[in-house]
């Protein structure tokens, strides 16, 4: 049945949302601290040179720490990381062919610049994808939005994000039911064709628009005045400050020094 994709997507969002509501060490941190640290992490990852692979690895400590402190199960994060973005593959896969110049060797194997830059893209991908997912899994979209509005993101956009998220579940359900109804009535071709798109999506859109009118009426009944008030008060504690300072220092340290190489040199020297 063609509704599988939507059902799976919905289950994934519900799962992340449920994780965010659970109580955990990482969950109790101020969302602003987590958002700022995640952004700093992503900038740090992106700032590495294009052939650097091993120097990036110490940064994996951040997602692993959040995963542990947030009691997040590994599977949903790993699944998303495994679904590597087609663009990253498309862009990276040509590097080993286009740039076969050697940059190092490991015994009989020659490491080429192309493979190094491709590996670097994949490591960056794994690090940045897991960090973004863990931010949501330990914070939840409501709290991220509260942090965004404190960071002076335009009000309209924050309210829009909250609304979109609230109705995502409803609309996913609506589209999913419509597709099931279609598939049951046309067993010979369960995938709808382009010329049916108008009627199929149009029906959902018409229901969506009348739903928006009902939502608006309900909001007016509850005293809506054009302003949406966020319920969660944000208070930064010393733990939040320590969290931000420690991670920023760690990112700077691993960016400034190639920690795995220093470690390798030390161990190799000791063995010799």
């Amino acid at each position: 049945m063609r509704t599988d994709g939507i059902a799976a997507a919905l289950a994934h969002v519900e799962r992340l949302d449920g994780l965010a509501r659970a109580d955990s060490l990482a969950g109790r941190l101020d969302p602003r601290a987590k958002l700022a640290t995640t952004l700093a992490f992503l900038v740090t990852v992106a700032s590495y040179g294009r052939y650097q692979v091993t120097a990036l690895l110490p940064l994996a400590l951040f997602p692993v720490a959040i995963l542990t402190l947030g009691d997040v199960p590994l599977a949903p994060i790993l699944i998303r990381v495994a679904l590597v973005s087609p663009l990253a593959i498309l862009v990276g896969i040509f590097n080993p062919i286009l740039d076969p110049s050697p940059i190092g060797s490991l015994g009989p194997f020659v490491i080429t610049a192309g493979w190094a830059s491709f590996a670097s893209i994949l490591v960056r991908f794994a690090l940045s994808v897991s960090a973004a997912l863990l931010l949501v899994a330990t914070t939840g979209l409501d709290a991220v939005c509260a942090a965004l509005s404190r960071f002076r993101v335009p009000r309209v956009l924050v309210v829009q994000l909250l609304f979109l998220y609230r109705y995502l579940f409803v609309l996913f359900g609506e589209v999913s039911r419509t597709l099931r109804a279609y598939a049951l009535r046309s067993p010979s071709h369960p995938v709808p064709r382009v010329r049916e798109a108008g009627a199929l999506l149009g029906q959902v859109l018409l229901r969506t628009l009348s739903r928006a009118q009902r939502v608006h009426a309900a909001m007016l009944c509850r005293g809506f005045d054009g302003e949406l008030r966020l319920r969660r008060p944000l208070r930064a504690r010393s733990a939040d400050v320590a969290f931000v300072v420690t991670w920023f220092a760690f990112f700077a340290l691993s960016r400034a020094f190639d920690l795995p190489r220093l470690l390798g040199n030390a161990v190799a020297g000791a063995v010799r």
């Binding site: 690895l57 490491i111 589209v175």
Partner: protein, 350 residues
């Protein structure tokens, strides 16, 4: 296709974040000038609709290809460009956060490629003039397909430019372009057909909602020319400032690797395709080397030669040993902490 965090450099990501933030602020101001409290729930629910509708694939008979709705054009026709842009921004943000489509750093690029270029360029400059006043069915469908194709071609051009400027690929600008544009031409036609079918259906069933052809600009918003000028200015300022920061501190290991490669061969200019000296010869390389010397330098870093480079290249064994140890330590730390927390957690009440 979504731009990915793994492919952007901080300078490119930062520039497009700045541009996107500027357009979002202008759009938000445009909506505030014309307060309509019905629009708040409408925008939210339509965002969720576009999100869900984009997961439905429609097949094109006898071609084997399929595609989904292009959200930007439909939203622009229903809400006007400023509100449509904000809805697209929210859809892309949720996709980045929950589905890791693109990523947070590349979000600025994605909102620009898929939101700005559709709502503020393809819709007012292609769709509105082509559909004209009171268009026939064919004309409306043609304008929608043309708008979707142009929007997607621009978006894919954006992806190519952003990736090449970030210096993450060895593909030259022209071959990357040849790889991307034809795919997106096909995707654009399919997206445009799905969107056209929906726009035609909506015009017949609820003509009051789709204000196509009724007035040149359905909802008041910032004039296109002013937005375009502001975007260009913001891009130039942000790009200039950020490339200065990026080029002020060249990356140590990277230049040593580049030098190691050069010394491993006969000379720096004798390298195969993808060697820095050759990449500068691509049209984009030449253009941007002239426009923003700092930017080109971050991608290519020419002329950096270090004395200890050959030693670096030969010591990859200790580098890989260190990498293995690092990963093992982090994994051990993670699983150890996990086990510790499981032990210290109170037993569940029976």
């Amino acid at each position: 296709m979504h731009m990915s965090d793994a492919l952007v450099s901080p300078a490119v990501a930062g520039s497009l974040w700045a541009v996107t933030a500027g357009v979002a602020a202008m759009s938000a101001r445009a909506l505030q000038r014309d307060p309509d409290d019905r629009r708040v729930p409408l925008m939210g629910v339509l965002g969720a609709f576009v999100f869900a509708a984009q997961m439905v694939n429609f097949s094109i008979p006898a071609t084997g290809s399929s595609g989904h709705l292009g959200g930007g054009l439909l939203l622009s026709a229903l809400l006007g460009p400023p509100a449509a842009f904000l809805v697209m921004a929210s859809v892309l943000t949720v996709q980045a956060l929950f589905f890791a489509d693109g990523g947070l750093l590349a979000l600025g690029c994605n909102i620009f490629n898929l939101g700005f270029l559709t709502c503020f360029v393809a819709y007012p400059l292609i769709f509105v003039p082509l559909s004209g006043r009171a268009p026939s069915r064919m004309r409306l469908a043609g304008a929608t397909v043309a708008g979707a194709v142009v929007g997607l071609q621009l978006g894919s051009l954006g992806v190519v430019l952003e990736t090449v400027l970030s210096g993450r690929t060895d593909l030259s600008f022209s071959s990357f372009l040849l790889l991307m544009q034809p795919i997106h031409l096909v995707i654009g036609v399919v997206e445009g057909s799905v969107t056209a079918a929906l726009v035609l259906f909506m015009r017949e069933s609820r003509p009051d909602l789709v204000s196509i052809g009724a007035t040149p600009s359905p909802k008041p918003g910032p004039p296109v020319r002013r937005v375009a000028a502001a975007v260009l200015l913001a891009a130039a300022v942000a790009g200039g400032a950020l490339s200065r920061i990026a080029s002020a501190k060249p990356d140590g290991l990277e230049w040593s690797l580049a030098h190691a490669r050069a010394s491993a061969q006969t000379g720096p200019s004798a390298g195969p395709a993808g060697e820095p000296s050759e990449r500068r010869d691509t049209p984009a390389g030449l253009l941007f080397a002239r426009l923003a010397p700092g930017w080109a330098a971050t991608a290519e870093r020419p002329g950096n030669v270090g004395p200890e480079a050959p030693e670096r290249a030969s010591s990859s064994f200790s580098g890989i040993l260190g990498a293995g140890l690092t990963v093992a330590m982090i994994a051990l730390l993670g699983s150890g902490l996990r086990a510790l927390r499981r032990l210290s957690r109170p037993a569940p009440l029976q």
